[in-house]
Symmetry: C2
Subunit: 136 residues, 2 copies
């Protein structure tokens, strides 16, 4: 399994924000209720999205979250890379990984590299708008 609940919940939140965008900020409590997800857990997932300007978060009464782009401008891959970390198929390809000493002669690495590329290319070809429209 690659994609944990963190990434899946983040996608659900993004879709909810996209579908209920009236210009107002939307409280996470509303989204949690609508989507049937644990509020406290969502609160732990969302900071990375606000820090990366994926969504805009406003505190205080009447606050909440709002998209910063149009739904068709959010590739699914971008959301997943932020919430899940790299979508690397093997640890060797992860960003922070200490380089494997067999890297130079490794004969499986090209395969993992290509797989990594294929996965990212596909996930970046789908947008939040596509998910909503059922355009898969």
């Amino acid at each position: 399994m690659i994609i944990s609940t963190r990434g899946r919940y983040a996608l659900r939140v993004m879709m909810d924000l996209a579908e209920n965008s009236s210009g107002d900020y939307i409280a996470m409590k509303k989204i949690a209720e609508r989507q049937g997800l644990p509020l406290k857990y969502l609160e732990r997932i969302l900071p990375v999205l606000t820090q990366n300007r994926i969504v805009e978060g406003i505190q205080g009464k009447g606050g909440g979250y709002r998209l910063t782009r149009r739904p068709e401008e959010y590739p699914v891959g971008e959301i997943l890379r932020l919430t899940e970390g790299d979508l690397a198929p093997v640890t060797c390809l992860e960003c922070g990984a200490e380089p494997c000493e067999k890297r130079a002669e490794c004969r499986t690495l090209p395969m993992w590299n290509k797989l990594h590329g294929i996965i990212n290319a596909y996930l970046d070809s789908v947008t939040i708008a596509d998910l909503i429209a059922g355009n898969i």
Copy 2:
């Protein structure tokens, strides 16, 4: 990360068996030494390969393992599915998973399905012989 050491080690073993096939059975101890992998751990990984006739294992002195097909007849995907379980990107798609009650209306499922297909198609297009030949 999708692929753990189980699957990666299994591939290394298969490549080693393919490259050192003289018709004789090859002791796992030899492979562990050559590849620098923990023998005891390999012994825990291999039974699933023998049970599925991927390799043939013979006990006793002079025993060991031997491929049952030619290297070009082993798709990487087959080895990985046996050692890693499904290569499903989300738990919802795993074989033994209890069906999600939102499955019918889930709008991300088609994307996961397609991704799953893409991953399997690629990994099944590469064979052990390709890995050895650097044919990626």
